[in-house]
Homo-oligomer: 442 residues x 2
């Protein structure tokens, strides 16, 4: 086969950038054998020359001038792995304005300015590929766009933040407190020194905004998503959840609701231990998708890390090089600027099951007061867990409910928190049941 050379300008030689440089250098022959294309690192732009040398990949074509590298007429593709919404945005805009395709793993940038950048790409007859922006190495964006194209997606439920999943797994398996588990995650390199973006749920929300926009053919902003992190979780709740047959996971959920609305949320969630998502441990990610034809599917793998993320970036590079991304990007009209904002389900209208943990005086009649309030808000109980008191004045009472309306639940909680026999506030977490398959009734 006649061979073609495809010249790549790589911006950023950090964790993922270094992984991409490694794959493109060490596996150049593998990629050439598979595709008939010689994928060549033309420029590696990074302000830190030492960082590029430390990759140990020989004499890489290093530069500190990203704009000149992008502008090099030989550059066929720009791979942006700087991250953030500052200088990275400028380079992406510049590349697209020059009609050069961009591969990026930058979820923050796409979550905040995706539709605008995609539109810029279309205007300049080029494309953006972004498989690595969500769930690291798992080819889930490809699956949504291509593999599930025949499906009206009913629900997308993901564990998309490896840091949180690592922390929760540590808490569950070893009975650690949140801060102990966070320290473990930092020691193992799974959490940053400032872990706020991850543990607050914001990172997961940025990924969900992208995944949901694609899955539901709409425009979901990060601010459309109701977000609760894992940083206030107490080990007692992971333990009680376990006693009830559940595991607590930080889930990112987008689900089709009546009247064409979508519920959008990221929060710690009780998942039944027999659910596949409950088995996703450590820093792994997984995304469950329910399609009206396909039914339930799940995509599992490493959601972060140097080489897994580089695997997704290089897959994008290959597809751009083969001309597949440009054709798909144009025809699928991804994240169309014309798409209206998502019709989101108001938080109060969510139907869910709930887990409540009350700290109650060890006195008769407390449970009766609580259940009376719940009943008056049309909330019925599915289980109650109250252990024998250990001579302490206050005892934990755990209640799980059947499906209830979130607005009703919040009103009931307000009243419960004002009961004299309880020490407020009650802990309230949501429980997820697997969506019904084939809800669309094909």
């Amino acid at each position: 086969m006649a061979e073609k050379t495809f010249n790549i300008t790589l911006l950023g030689a950090g964790t993922v950038g270094g992984g991409v440089a490694t794959l493109l250098t060490r596996d150049r022959k593998l990629l050439r054998d598979r595709t008939g294309i010689d994928f060549r690192l033309l420029h590696v732009a990074d302000l830190d020359a030492q960082r590029v040398r430390d990759l140990g990949l020989g004499n890489l074509p290093h530069t500190t001038d990203a704009i000149a590298a992008i502008d090099d007429p030989k550059t066929d593709l720009v791979v942006e792995l700087i991250g953030g919404t500052g200088i990275a945005a400028k380079f992406v805009e510049h590349s697209l304005s020059c009609g050069k395709p961009v591969v990026t793993a930058n979820k923050a940038l796409l979550a905040s300015r995706g539709p605008e950048l995609f539109n810029l790409a279309r205007k300049n007859n080029t494309c953006v590929a972004f498989e690595a922006s969500c769930a690291g190495g798992i080819p889930v964006i490809n699956a949504i766009i291509h593999g599930l194209v025949a499906n009206r997606i009913e629900a997308l439920i993901g564990i998309v933040n490896g840091t949180c999943n690592f922390i929760l797994t540590q808490m569950t398996r070893h009975g650690l407190s949140y801060s102990q588990a966070l320290a473990e995650a930092q020691k193992a390199g799974y959490a940053e020194a400032d872990p706020t973006l991850d543990v607050s749920g914001r990172d997961a929300a940025q990924k969900l905004s992208l995944l949901a926009s694609l899955a539901f053919n709409t425009r979901v902003a990060e601010s459309d998503i109701q977000v609760q992190g894992i940083n206030s979780l107490e080990e007692a709740d992971l333990k009680f959840a376990g006693d009830l047959g559940y595991v607590i996971k930080l889930l990112a959920i987008a689900q089709r609701e009546p009247k064409d609305r979508i519920s959008l949320r990221v929060h710690p969630t009780l998942v039944h231990k027999d659910d596949l998502l409950a088995q996703v441990s450590g820093s792994f990610n997984a995304v469950s998708i329910y399609g009206h034809a396909l039914g339930h599917a799940l995509f599992y793998g490493r959601g972060a890390g140097r080489m897994p993320t580089a695997s997704a970036v290089v897959s994008d590079i290959v597809q751009v090089g083969m001309g597949l991304t440009a054709a798909a990007f144009k025809q699928f009209n991804l994240l169309p600027a014309a798409a209206g904002a998502v019709k989101k389900l108001p938080a109060a209208e969510l139907q869910s099951r709930y887990y409540l943990r009350l700290t109650a005086q060890d006195a008769p009649g407390v449970l009766a007061q609580v259940t009376k309030i719940l009943g008056s808000h049309k909330i019925s109980l599915s289980a109650v867990l109250q252990r024998e008191s250990n001579h302490s004045q206050f005892v934990p009472v755990v209640i799980t409910t059947h499906q209830a309306r979130e607005g009703d639940l919040q009103k009931a909680l307000d009243k419960i928190n004002r009961l004299k026999s309880l020490r407020p506030p009650a802990v309230c977490l949501r429980i997820i049941d697997q969506p019904k398959e084939f809800a669309g009734g094909v």
Copy 2:
């Protein structure tokens, strides 16, 4: 966007064909909105007109003349859902010879004549799409070809036959015998009246030949695969496996071995209950893949059934219509005719752990004899399970081993089966440990 019409000739209106006709008819607008292409059913060829009417999709363009439908100059794509290697092969050859792309779910045809048909497609400047041929609705072929293109795949381990998995799940959960569980599967529509193709492991081997050919860029014939079905499994072994912390699954395994060889096998396997594959129940399928960059990934979903399989077929139709398949098929040079046959690992050289169930006389010294034979063949024990005898003359003794060479194990078994104190033959099953991630050492 200017709209283009893409005309489809569908061959076969059976289970999957009916599902495809349903999606193309009922979701025509969804597909048009997503792609800008009007996917139109031009001909539905089936010898049985009643079957087409029974789809309840209105006035479908039915014909009994498949060749004329293929030859219709308006036909842009032929979708072959007849199955088997008879008339279906003839229609596929005819379509490709005319330069018309083919979408098919026909694993038997591709396993036996894939390289030849793919070559015919290339010669006529057209393509074959076959996502639905393995693991039903799960987009795993797309994942191997596109999502994992940057990976040297180290291992592929799949549950790819829903019938067998349904039967094994019934046996495990409800303690049914093989024949009781088979009857349940037939009643539920998960097994054919003649279930041989499924329960013998042949169907799984056909799928593995395709998946392994793609994953390892080689040519794997069905006859290269060592196959053992589930039809001789006894409920006792599922129970003992459970007691030891394992579940028995029919696994299709392709794994890179030293000296560039591949081990290829389909057999009932003990899977640790914490392994995700152990959680794949009922008629679901899953494929675990280990890539040198990505590490472990798993793809899960419905491996059969009308609408899930149709979901994969329609995804292929869309990608052919968009011109993506033709470009990828040509550049990736899938199943190249020039590829040499796979260098398979000789069966005797397999390294595995084993589960043995012996039926032993309840007399002293039997276990000593057995362990002596195993030891003399360099096989060491990892666990022994022998319950107190219930006054019966023979008792089951279950042994699990550490890694051993299959050739050694078989020689030891020959000797064990000749021991006077045992009732032959001993039951022997393989145990799988999860492959190490990043074995390639990136």
